[in-house]
């Protein structure tokens, strides 16, 4: 089975914590995942850095791994043409619905098992608040 390269795009380079958080979620769900931090190849120039990272990501993904890497918005480089590639912004990834949809795509692709939860934990907090507001639960 082929894996997937997820490029997380941000204007000034991605927040490493965002990459780690997504990587942890996929790993916790039982997926094979590799988070590719930018410092791994930081000695190269900007474009070389990007291309080298892309090659490494593609190699990992070809072995069925979900690879998470950071990129710059509008860079124009979308490496890994022969592999499934997803681009998502940091802002989108912080959105519970996008995040859920993202995980669902990985699930349908057979890259992670079905979720252990029926409602995303981030969304659950919002729902609890609404249930309190409606009087179903005490505050």
């Amino acid at each position: 089975m082929k894996g997937l390269v997820i490029w997380i795009l941000a204007d000034e380079g991605s927040d490493e914590a965002v990459l780690d958080e997504l990587g942890t979620e996929i790993k916790d769900r039982g997926g094979r995942v590799e988070v590719f931090h930018s410092e791994a190849v930081e000695s190269l120039g900007m474009e070389e850095n990007y291309r080298a990272k892309a090659v490494a990501c593609a190699m990992l993904a070809s072995h069925g791994v979900v690879v998470i890497a950071s990129g710059r918005s509008g860079s124009g480089i979308v490496p890994g043409e022969k592999l499934a590639v997803r681009e998502v912004s940091e802002e989108q990834l912080r959105d519970g619905r996008v995040r859920t949809g993202f995980m669902r795509d990985l699930e349908l692709a057979g890259l992670v098992p079905p979720p252990k939860y029926d409602v995303h934990p981030d969304e659950e907090k919002e729902i609890l608040k609404r249930l309190q507001d409606l009087g179903y639960l005490e505050e």
Binding site: R97, D118, V119, L131, Y136
Partner: protein
């Protein structure tokens, strides 16, 4: 841990606020198809996950599989078609097109990525799913109003909270699931109703509650046929009885925005599967559930469950006999638990109850609690009861 959703995961294709605005903006200039009342209810319930694993209106393969085999092509049990019908005056569409879904007034309620446009044998559908082709059956009459072409594809639904009836009782499946967990319920039984609550219903609900952690009162508020008691009257009855006769920590009420199909046995299974998505482990099936007239046998809606493997259903039907007050027993009972003949039973036919309420006469308290009778009499006086 609550029962998992049907098909393993809850579908979430419902949007509101900024996301909904973006979807609507993206539909400008595209073709628009018209939703009827049933389809609008279905769209809402696909979007909020109540119809999981459905992600859209059925294409031909699922439609045929459901009509013939009561299973989706992908495997899960599914007993009734959930389809979108082509309407007179709507534009022609082809697979691959992206279209808006709007009601007759032009308000957009969602969109569809069209995957299939197909002709259906509606007489055969009626025969297989409703068990009749008699035009006096409301489900057959509905099918007879269609032109026989269905349009299938994945949908997204737009939520407009400001237009919803019973906004304080609108809980999506993910919300009831969170509620059940917060209350510490691991099991819950759902009660489907399109009638006001009488003592018989109360008895059955409380019998069911004895064996599970919580009770979800789930009145149907989608489209019903003329002659059914309107949803707002039924809701007033339930609000009243919940005040004094039900333990608040063990009972939750929210509305079930489905349209009635009057498909009897198949609709009983359909209702059960949807309640599984709401997090319920058990479902009450009374006599002639979802029936109409004399089209179905008294126990058909209970017997149909025997044709499925319990694991593939994933929700347990609780079968109940008709309940009544027995003067000799001195309490509520059913034919299963009462040793006495009908001369001891307080039983009124529906038509008789209507007559009494219309004339301002209180039914016996053993049949209807006075608080409820008062609401129904008031509704009859104002002409709200039909």
């Amino acid at each position: 841990m609550l029962v998992p959703p049907h098909g393993g995961r809850l579908v979430d294709r419902q949007y509101e606020g900024r996301e909904a605005d973006e979807i609507i903006a993206g539909l400008q200039g595209l073709k628009s198809l018209t939703l009827n009342a049933r389809e609008k209810n279905d769209l809402e319930m696909i979007g909020n996950g109540a119809m999981s694993p459905l992600e859209g209106f059925m294409c031909r393969d699922d439609y045929e599989s459901v009509v013939d085999l009561m299973h989706l092509v992908s495997g899960p049990v599914w007993s009734l078609p959930v389809v979108f019908a082509r309407k007179v005056g709507d534009p022609e569409v082809r697979p691959g097109e992206h279209v808006a879904l709007a009601d007759a007034s032009g308000t957009i309620w969602g969109d569809m990525a069209v995957e299939d446009v197909f002709n259906a044998d509606l007489a055969s559908e009626a025969d297989r799913t409703l068990g009749t082709t008699d035009i006096s059956h409301p489900g057959v009459a509905y099918l007879d109003s269609l032109d026989g072409t269905y349009i299938g594809g994945k949908v997204r639904s737009i939520r407009r909270r400001d237009t919803e009836s019973f906004p304080n009782y609108r809980l999506d499946p993910k919300e009831t699931r969170v509620l059940f967990r917060a209350r510490g319920w691991k099991t819950a039984v759902a009660f489907q109703t399109r009638n006001p609550i009488h003592r018989a219903h109360e008895y059955i609900q409380k019998c069911a509650l004895e064996i599970v952690d919580g009770l979800l009162l789930h009145p149907l508020v989608g489209e019903t046929q003329e002659g059914d008691i309107p949803a707002d009257v039924r809701m007033r009855c339930y609000e009243e009885i919940l005040k004094d006769y039900y333990p608040s920590t063990r009972v939750a009420m929210s509305v079930f925005p489905a349209a009635m199909r009057y498909a009897g046995p198949r609709e009983a299974v359909f209702h059960a599967l949807l309640r599984k998505n709401y997090g319920c482990s058990h479902f009450i099936v009374g006599r002639d559930h979802a029936g109409v007239g004399n089209f179905y046998g008294t126990y058909d809606a209970q017997l149909i469950f025997d044709g499925f493997d319990p694991d593939e259903l994933g929700i347990t039907p609780l079968r109940f006999e008709h309940a009544f007050f027995c003067r000799k027993c001195g309490g509520m009972a059913t034919l299963k638990t009462c040793a006495h003949d009908s001369s001891h039973h307080v039983f009124l036919a529906g038509r008789k109850v209507r007559e009494m309420l219309g004339e301002g006469v209180m039914p016996p308290p053993e049949f209807t609690r006075p608080e409820i009778a008062q609401i129904l009499i008031e509704a009859a006086r104002k002409g709200e009861d039909r």
